[in-house]
Symmetry: C2
Subunit: 197 residues, 2 copies
């Protein structure tokens, strides 16, 4: 199963993904690591948070068809390396992708069975406050992000699920429920051995 978690910058999607992996090892999820040309923020680790690449390296991988999707966002390139995702799915594992809304919809076209979850902060004000207190973006960048948010929200209803990320614990529990529910979908069901005749 492929699970896509999207939301505006500042929606807390990274934290939700991290908590999900941490709290529910029983779900046996694999977090896909994206590639980006954006420079690392303090504390970010290559190969854990992102594969940090030069623009040249990124473009080479694009040319080789090495991405499931890629897009420029706020002047940098972001992409989802195809290999690790395809391998994990082939092994029957569940893969979680933290991805922007455009990328999410591109992947849904290739994997119609993917589960799309959109996270939205409780309000415009909360989002702006989160971006400011993160302290990684300039005032001008924050305003750019706030303008972009309305575009993202206009795509939101193409997702399967929308969660207001108010309290982290509640949101993580809801995502867990969505995964549990999706695993019980009739279209994914196979009759247990004791029913075959």
């Amino acid at each position: 199963m492929l699970i896509l978690i999207s939301g505006p910058s500042g929606s807390g999607k990274g934290t939700v993904c991290a908590r999900l992996m941490e709290n529910f090892p029983d779900l046996d999820l694999k977090l896909s690591v994206s590639a980006t040309t954006r420079p690392p923020r303090p504390g970010e680790v290559h190969g854990r948070d992102y594969f940090f690449m030069s623009r040249e390296e990124f473009e080479k991988l694009v040319a080789e068809g090495g991405f499931l999707e890629w897009a420029p966002i706020y002047g940098y390139f972001y992409g989802t390396p195809a290999g690790p995702v395809r391998d994990a799915l082939a092994r029957g594992e569940s893969v979680v992708l933290e991805i922007d809304v455009q990328g999410g919809l591109q992947i849904k076209e290739q994997f119609p069975d993917a589960v799309l979850i959109f996270l939205i902060p409780p309000s415009r004000k909360v989002l702006r406050d989160r971006l400011i207190s993160r302290g990684t973006d300039s005032r001008a960048e924050i305003e750019k992000r706030m303008i972009w948010v309305d575009t993202e929200l206009s795509f939101m209803f193409r997702y399967d699920y929308i969660l207001v990320n108010d309290r982290l614990g509640d949101t993580v529990f809801k995502v867990r429920c969505i995964l549990e529910a999706e695993r019980s979908r009739a279209r994914r069901f196979t009759l247990p051995g004791g029913w075959r005749t």
Copy 2:
């Protein structure tokens, strides 16, 4: 939200519904009570387990359009009184219906947004054992039920979710997750006040 819980006789749907109401009062669910012409089993209470009716009373209600669905099952009539369900949904409450598979699919036609959950015992053998140990049905009745099961299973894939009811606690948790997930569906989402401009 309307939640339909179906499954063969002996799948444990009654117990799952009862546990759901008991364990999760926070979900604010209302259990719909069916009407039947079948005589009460020991311990069953009129108005709690079923509305027990004579055949004449049942047919009068049918003629008045008082059922969402009704059907003959194993020689008795069963039906879902329409009034209480319509009233609860109009008040914005969530209603749980424990219902046979034919009835479930009839209701889905009238309420396309209804969530259909099918419970299946882990195996044919477990089902037969449960029916025998329940001690309420004759040997011949049990065999009739076992034959009917294959018809029910053939409708199963029209449901939204299928759960193997092996351990009661797991099944109840999964139903809870399904309800949580369904409440977060994009098509049921309304943008919080802090996002309107």
